[in-house]
Point group: C2
Chain length 248, copies 2
């Protein structure tokens, strides 16, 4: 298939709104959420972009159409585009990134690091989010290392890279700590899990906000007691502000 | 007075906890809060470190004593020390910063930018937070510019610098936008105001959390509608997590 006719599976495009978590927290962004994931985390909070039961809501879109939508939403004012999913790394996003950078936009991606792409080198921000034991998934550290190699393969810069870990319990915390030790040069972002993720077909479902807050306090206490001062601990701001509502 | 006997007025030293706002949000820090301020903002949320009525709670401490306390709290593991107040710039903090950096600690300060100090150049992070109209205070832009000059006077680096604005209303927003335009190279952090700041002698007073959330949503909407994509919009995380409680 030629690059021009290459389609990208899109679950939703929305924004501008603020990035709710991690390295770019608080920064205005348009989200391009792709459909499909090679993982099935037990607590996935974007099942509507993962489970094939919802694939009738996904659109196979051309790069130019997606790009037109991002420009429309942002009023042609450059900002950071957040590529998320599902796992955006299983989609052919290289042309979209190159297209958008011509117009002065920046690109961030968040992926679990299970698929390496050469276009990682064209990103401005790469967040690798290996999934902890509570997800039920296993990380292939060789592939995660390939992701880092791909991102840094270009001599002229490459993205700012960070590791992000969702932490539900002590085992997840230990996992994050081990993983961080494997990559001592990368900044680490810890995030308490949302144990009441949205059902995929009810984006107004209530979350247990007190429970989310309690997990955040637990995580802060743990990191401080442990004196893991290189870690940054952040909640999912969009969950605090909008609950599980989608498209904000 | 010699440097050795120079005293610093301290309101409180606490942590480690996470930085709740701005450039270093989510990062572990020990707070050194100094006593006294040259401003009297209408909505000051640290009156216990400002109003001379509370100065009997402040201690005149020597640099070595303060430093011992920071080392104790952090278990001798280097982290970022946040110098706050009141206005920390009216205290002689240069020796404390130099002392701490010998031990590998980093230093951040937040000040309104009404007093410039040559030791700003020794900081790792400088947050200048000019006060908007709702505060009832007026900014002297020449002095704020002097603060920037002081911070960048040293050829070897100097701190990362950011502007932070508390926004309560449209007039505050317009002020932030004008001020940001004066310093186009500086990153800008916008923060909704806490309209229910703690009374200085009741650190368990309830805040209006819904009201704080509403102001955050209002601010996000405003920034997005305005397409001010260079701005970062962040709440006061510690207020969301701990309300007005002190020392966390
Ligand atoms: S990797 Fe992400 S999108 Fe995929 S199943 Fe896990 S949480 Fe969901
Ligand atoms: S400058 Fe800060 S500490 Fe001083 S009165 Fe204003 S809000 Fe309070």
């Amino acid at each position: 298939m030629s690059a021009a006719s290459e389609k990208i599976r899109i679950s939703e495009i929305f924004g501008p709104t603020i990035q709710g978590e991690g390295m770019l927290i608080g920064q205005p962004t348009v989200f391009v959420r792709t459909g499909g994931c090679d993982y099935r985390c037990s607590w996935c909070d974007t099942l509507h972009a993962v489970d094939s039961e919802y694939r009738h809501n996904w659109l196979a879109m051309e790069t130019e159409t997606i790009w037109g939508q991002v420009r429309y939403l942002s009023g042609d004012v450059p900002l950071t585009v957040s590529l998320s999913g599902g796992n955006p790394a299983i989609q052919p996003l290289g042309n979209l990134i190159r297209r958008g950078k011509q117009d002065g936009y920046r690109f961030a991606i968040e992926t679990q690091g299970s698929v390496a792409r050469d276009w990682f080198a064209d990103l401005d921000f790469l967040v690798l989010s290996p999934k902890p034991p509570s997800s039920g998934m296993e990380t292939d550290w060789d592939i995660l290392t390939d992701c880092l190699k791909a991102a840094t393969s270009c001599s002229s810069g490459g993205p700012r890279i960070g590791l992000k870990f969702v932490v539900f319990d002590d085992a997840d915390y230990a996992f994050a700590k081990d993983a961080a030790a494997r990559f001592p040069d990368l900044p680490v972002y810890l995030q308490p899990g949302n144990h009441t993720p949205p059902p995929p077909d009810d984006d107004d479902a209530r979350i247990d906000l007190d429970g989310v807050m309690d997990r955040m306090l637990w995580l802060v206490d743990k990191v401080m007691a442990d004196r893991w001062f290189a870690a940054t601990v952040l909640p999912q701001l969009h969950v605090l502000l909008w609950g599980n509502k989608r498209g904000v």
